[in-house]
Symmetry: C2
Subunit: 278 residues, 2 copies
Amino acid sequence: MDEQINSRALAPVGVFDSGVGGLTVAREIMRQLPNEKIVYFGDTARVPYGSKSKETILRYSRQIIRFLKTKGVKAIVVACNTASALALEEIRDEIDMPIIGVVKPGAKVAVEKTVNKRVGVIATEATISSGLYTDYIKAQDADVTVYSKACPLFVPLVEEGWLKDSVTEEVARRYLEELKEQNIDTLVLGCTHYPLLRNMIGKLMGDEVTLVNPAYETAVSLGELLEEKGLAAGNENRYASEMYDFYVSDAAEKFKKFANSILPFRIENISQINIEEY
Amino acid sequence: MDEQINSRALAPVGVFDSGVGGLTVAREIMRQLPNEKIVYFGDTARVPYGSKSKETILRYSRQIIRFLKTKGVKAIVVACNTASALALEEIRDEIDMPIIGVVKPGAKVAVEKTVNKRVGVIATEATISSGLYTDYIKAQDADVTVYSKACPLFVPLVEEGWLKDSVTEEVARRYLEELKEQNIDTLVLGCTHYPLLRNMIGKLMGDEVTLVNPAYETAVSLGELLEEKGLAAGNENRYASEMYDFYVSDAAEKFKKFANSILPFRIENISQINIEEY
């Protein structure tokens, strides 16, 4: 293997999200691919993405990728479902490095898990409107019927910290009611905040429904993709002083607090940047 | 009166907000000052402001004012409580035209209305953290005690359209509980979305509590300020073909739908711009 490829392989993976939610994906990459360095960007100055237009999400995603490139990343993970659904296909043609999102891996697992071929997807308004989960699921198995439901209050409820709360449960009951009636056996948690409501959603849907968190499968897909491209890091990175770098567009302190509540170690190195300059 | 002042007086007033909420202020200006043209900007690409930092809100407000200046406005109304609380004082020194926000007028009415000198303020996290309502109220009457409460779920609930809903009522009951216990007789609705929950909040607080909507007093203050500066429009504008122009940074169609549900006439002329270019 020539030296140039080797040094590219030691470069970090860029991971981005509209805010903190993508940390559930970053966490999965840290677990499964412990040799990989990560540069994470959370667009906390413009969060949330889930109610915004395709045009705007595309512009934001392009800015973030330009920023991540300045950090020398070797591949990009779009850890935000909304950006994966609205921007990924167009961006893939514009950049010269591997890029994956969370929608395709999530759709893949859903098709593998369903037995009765009735799959539910819950996500933001923008992700549901894009129809991309349905497209990917049906591309793999045209016999699967997909039932989708936007759940716009889940993100603010999670950010308010009302994870085990009667109000959140009542909101969830309403959102999930029509999916329950459709007798689905598999439900995709199509927004990175939703795994934080996993227990409640699981209780409401019942044991017979499998919940799919695309984060796990995204990390698997990333590992495969890096191997395929000869970009997987060996254990040379193990002695790096800083494996993980975090950047946000606003309120680094608030981000740090949330990050430290969901990551398996404390993070200190968070920098705030002006993303509009990229 | 010389001609230059006259032509300045015919220029529009710039009104801005993080999104649709400021339309409740624009509506009040339309009612009270029917001779005034308005250029409205809603920052729908970066909404909400209520959870973001002062530094970011300042940068956004400066961009918007640069944009409004390109439309030849004669004065600016910061119709967003968060931007009024976090950015107005610094911006006032930077620009060469009259500018007012909604916090000072809201605080003024609260002091006028309270009898027992116990005033409540509900608003976004950022507005409450700024402490500005408390500062303005106490500057006018140091004997008033102010009880503040951030209500972060109100904006997403309003945007979900759950205005008369048991979930919203339960959320409101929790947020308002501690204010009720403080025996306040006046409550400031310190976020432009909250007047849309006025009936529910009024019912929960009881008839003995006066609800203050800063929009009304903001329009009064604007009228006084324009008169004082010789900038009030006469009825020459009455024959203008376009009294009101609307600009947004994202999703013009969605904005139009919301606007048409709260304004007393249908609007058609909404343009989408890239605010980051200003």
